[in-house]
């Protein structure tokens, strides 16, 4: 088995703040970022509660790009890689620049005047970081962040780049808000992952990036290695446009593939960061998958606190997972009141100390049955 790739920097912008420490400080005390928004109510949304970033100013048709630039530049500054390193930028997003499409529709244009694709986000972030030798844009739905990070591991191991900035971005999307509300996937009050009375997801926005380097390179330059990453296990349910396969079989395949990347087993897992979207079907399938793969390994889901930032969510949860491995403490599952009695998982409601185990899986699943599981290892 290959050694993990080193994580040497992290940056994020979420409803809990614009640094990993601020994110951690509010998550660990059980805060919840959800609040009602007058503009959404005035626009007619039946549900007007969301986890938006109140103090981040950006033009509506560049919001995701600006979020991405803020998080990626912070991550790169945190890592401070050597000058001349061959840089790769790998970015995942569910909606792309949603504000571009919304503006085009409001102006009666069939297609946006400015490119609203995920590739446009990547181009904006890449330009802010310098001159990357590789720039890739992943539109793998809500597994896009995990997918980008896993791809970065592969490029580094093959020697195609020296430093990767990899993660995910999604600005607040009214298209997604309308789609999820009208699909009745949105909770009317709070997102409650794995709760017996869970009623759906809560939409959020944000961005997060990890800086990755080959471990030998990071050690040689004396970088602070915050954790290691082995890659991402992937699969597809091929079952339904929006619902997961109810037995969680594809999710299990993704988790087992991630463990296989390090020759690890469930007995090596300190915890699992669940996708935990709070929808009835997704949480039920994920609980079956986790029980099938990992038994009583501690499980926490953080979308009750932060909402679901779509393509950014898995990257944000990767940042939290890295902090948990480093600080040996697992944030709880905010807003879970009582575990669904049909679920056989060891859900962590309140923060708890981690065991001495070294590995963690961070799950992310998307529309169309895209399954991903990122495997992290303590430094």
């Amino acid at each position: 088995m290959e050694a993990p790739v080193a994580i040497t920097g992290m940056g994020c912008v979420t409803a809990f703040g614009d640094t990993p420490d601020r994110l951690w400080d509010r998550l660990i005390v059980g805060d919840c970022a959800a609040r009602p928004w007058d503009d959404l109510a005035q626009q007619g949304f039946r549900v007007a509660v969301a986890c938006r970033i109140a103090d981040f100013e950006a033009p509506a048709d560049r919001r995701a790009e600006r979020l991405g630039i803020a998080a990626a530049t912070a991550a790169l500054a945190d890592a401070a890689p050597p000058p001349g390193a061959r840089l790769g930028v790998l970015l995942g997003s569910t909606m792309g620049e949603s504000g571009c499409f919304e503006s085009a529709a409001e102006q009666g244009a069939p297609v946006p005047a400015r490119d609203g694709s995920v590739a446009a986000l990547t181009a904006g972030v890449a330009a802010a970081l310098g001159t990357p030798v590789v720039a890739r844009s992943y539109g793998n739905a809500c597994a896009a962040g995990n997918t980008a990070i896993g791809a970065a591991v592969s490029l580094l191991r093959r020697g195609l780049i020296d430093v990767a900035v990899a993660g995910g971005v999604d600005g607040f999307s009214r298209i997604a808000m309308a789609g999820f509300v009208r699909s009745r996937a949105m909770t009317p009050d709070l997102c409650r992952p794995f709760d017996a009375g869970r009623a759906g997801m809560q939409l959020a926005e944000g961005a997060a990036f990890l800086v990755l380097e080959r471990t030998a390179d990071a050690l040689a330059r004396g970088a602070d290695i915050v954790a290691g990453v082995h890659g991402t296990g992937l699969s597809c349910d091929a079952f339904h446009p929006t619902a997961p396969a109810p037995g969680g079989e594809g999710m299990m395949i993704a988790m087992r593939r991630s463990l296989a990347l390090a020759g690890a087993s469930a007995a090596d897992l300190a915890f699992i960061s669940a996708h935990g979207s709070g929808t009835v079907a997704s949480d039920a399938a994920e609980a079956l998958a986790i029980a099938g793969v990992a038994g009583d390994v501690p499980v926490a889901g953080w979308k009750g606190a932060l909402g679901h930032a779509m393509g950014a969510a898995s990257a944000i949860e990767a940042v939290i997972s890295v902090l948990a491995l480093r600080r040996r403490r697992l944030p709880g599952t905010t807003n879970n009141r009582a575990l669904d009695p049909f679920m056989r998982i060891n859900l962590v409601r309140q923060p708890q100390a981690l065991s001495g185990r070294r590995f963690a899986i961070s799950n992310a699943f998307g529309f169309g049955g895209i399954n991903s599981a990122l495997l992290l290892e303590a430094a």
Binding site: T122, A135, R136, G139, A178, R182, P241, G366, G368, I370
Partner: protein, 183 residues
């Protein structure tokens, strides 16, 4: 990077918002002997979901967000084409959507060849998909890769678009009209 090109195809069709259906019909005969559980989809596209995103929001403005039909919402995601093909053909391997121009094709090719080399998949369905919109047809070029051989290596790591190049080499013309396949 290991891999062998075993089939190529191309097709264009009027924009309908139901592209995964005809794409699946095009791909199905090229995967006759493939194990769906060991087959991945690697799609490169500059614009999948863009016209539908704009159209969905235009309808939401007309009909209000309170009443707009959510039917097309999943199709606003760029990933809906690749996952739709996987669903139609029960393909359970990795399902990638790389967004961009020739760079996205090269990235999709690299992901596919890498998964073949690692044994994650036995077949890779590579698709270059250009979405249409009302009045402009959608088009696709398809390459099927299998494990073994080194023909795929010649296409990867070069400038230009490896999916276009593979189709040219295998005699599949540009997908201006109708359907063309070579196996």
């Amino acid at each position: 990077m290991a891999g062998a090109i075993i089939a190529c195809a191309a097709q264009s069709a009027p924009w309908s918002g139901r592209e995964p259906e005809w794409l699946a019909d095009l791909v199905a005969p090229l995967l006759a002997d493939a194990d769906p559980a060991a087959t991945g989809v690697y799609l490169a596209t500059p614009d999948a979901g863009a016209a539908i995103s704009t159209g969905f929001w235009a309808r939401a403005l007309r009909e209000t967000v309170t009443f707009v039909s959510p039917q097309d919402f999943p199709l606003t995601l760029a990933s809906s084409i690749a996952t739709g093909i996987a669903r139609a053909l029960k393909l359970q391997g990795p399902n990638h959507t790389l967004v961009g121009g020739g760079d996205a094709s090269r990235a999709a090719w690299d992901e596919a060849a890498h998964d073949l080399a690692r044994g994650i998949v036995e077949r890779a369905v590579l698709i270059k998909f250009v979405a249409g919109h009302p009045g402009l047809p959608s088009s696709a070029r398809i390459v099927i890769l299998s494990a073994g051989g080194d023909a795929a290596e010649a296409m990867s790591g070069e400038d230009g678009d490896p999916i276009d190049k593979a189709c040219r080499v295998h005699g599949v013309p540009a997908a201006r009209t109708g359907k063309h396949a070579h196996t």
